[in-house]
Symmetry: C2
Subunit: 315 residues, 2 copies
Amino acid sequence: MVALCGGVGGAKLAFGLSRLLGDRLMLIVNTGDDFEHLGLSISPDIDTVLYTLSGLANRELGWGRQDESWNFMTALEAIGGETWFRLGDRDLALHVERTRRLRAGESLTEIVADFAIRFGISAQILPMCDDPIRTIVATPEGRLAFQRYFVEQRCAPRVTGIAFEGRHEARPSEKVLAALEASDIRAVIVCPSNPFLSIDPILAVPGIRERMEKAAAPVIAVSPIIGGKAVKGPTSKIMAELDMPATSETILRHYDGLLDGLVIDRTDAAESRALPGSVHVTDTLMKTDEDRVRLAGEVLAFADRLDAKAMDGSR
Amino acid sequence: MVALCGGVGGAKLAFGLSRLLGDRLMLIVNTGDDFEHLGLSISPDIDTVLYTLSGLANRELGWGRQDESWNFMTALEAIGGETWFRLGDRDLALHVERTRRLRAGESLTEIVADFAIRFGISAQILPMCDDPIRTIVATPEGRLAFQRYFVEQRCAPRVTGIAFEGRHEARPSEKVLAALEASDIRAVIVCPSNPFLSIDPILAVPGIRERMEKAAAPVIAVSPIIGGKAVKGPTSKIMAELDMPATSETILRHYDGLLDGLVIDRTDAAESRALPGSVHVTDTLMKTDEDRVRLAGEVLAFADRLDAKAMDGSR
């Protein structure tokens, strides 16, 4: 089983999937948000997945670690360091150790695999790419690196376009390609992350989209839209700015032929009749761990139904 | 007024001197202990001086900052990072910001000057050199980088020799040379730091020893030996290993003609008669801030007496 995910929303479903699948789950995680800050290599979505799957995520903040302290940040501010991107004392360990190991020549894939073991995570967490691909947000005031847009400017600027710098030079990750090419693959799940900022960077990695199209299993997305809004983050704001109605139909169109099935929220059940292709309607809001596991189970069952249908059709 | 110092013991006298002299004090601080750890540039003696002079030093530990927390270290250990050199959460801010600025091309001298201002320190803290000079300890088991010897192995290996790697390639710091060449210099104080590990690296910087010999003011050392022992650290252990009696006379000989005067502890008053040159006997143990300021005042008065005598002699 392969799932694509970005940060918070996607990581919740990934948590549910990991509970059901253990080491049979391979997560391909967005690294378009990665950046260098204070001289440290920071991978926000990877870390959110590490913290969420290990149960260490900070649920109040929605990012970072639980039981966090901020003494580093306070001391940094006192000596005039940059504080717009907040790094907790415990969280900092991942950034310092990752940076050290990257400089020593290890790949992000190797480093994250070790971190996952240390965090007691059995799912495989695969960075979408070991080469840098950087999400750039175009705004009327100019181009912004992702974290400047997302954290420093709190998604305030109007988005006029999104680009993925470095995508053409990037070599795909062997492990990611192998995961998508596996003959025993059961499904490819696109988690309810931001399609533009979290999933599109993954699809921009050379070879990934093509392998998803050819995958020997159904590709299913869980729509991040509930009742015309995203649960969290700027998805619906960006859709408005890009002149797209904030509906699950838009999400389906956006993935442009890639999907075999779409999971949408009960709130939008009326939409399902107008949607082309297979749709599963359920509660997609994940408030508790039980919600996450239940939704993951429904997505897997939906995938199995689609797979059986496809095999019927091929007979 | 110029003073040479290393870490804890020297920094105590530097604190006293800074209270009396404010911005008229220039401190030349050992950077032979500096090293790269976890990808961060660490300057232990510089930081001890910053923390001591600003009143932020941790008096229980004898190193690092007061009111420190250790959440970074705990989290680092959990992901398999190296923990033999302990970095507190607040302390880490100096290392991360220093490393970032060094990589951006700033000199350690510039960075430390800014930090000192941020810490409210009026004395000038000058790294002995902006180029790397690294103290290496020779032992029967091989050569050890200073912090491996000092922190990881807790000074246990027997010292057979000490070297300062990079000294011949190092360019001296303009500010350090200018401080020693000043015509209005009142004294050059060698603080009661470890002569072998804290002061010798400073004297190994091209041009420093020569300028101290020519300085237009008396050079005075405060002996780190009290009753045959050093207050703290491995000074007397190293002296035994190098077959030197742990006495102030040995210290005087070690500096080999560089000193115009030596300050020794009352415990060793009997030694003073046998010592060549000018000696001032007083209480050199600094337990309180008052001790530090009192000793600093006595050192300054001793310097002035030596200066007057020298001027008498030259008439």
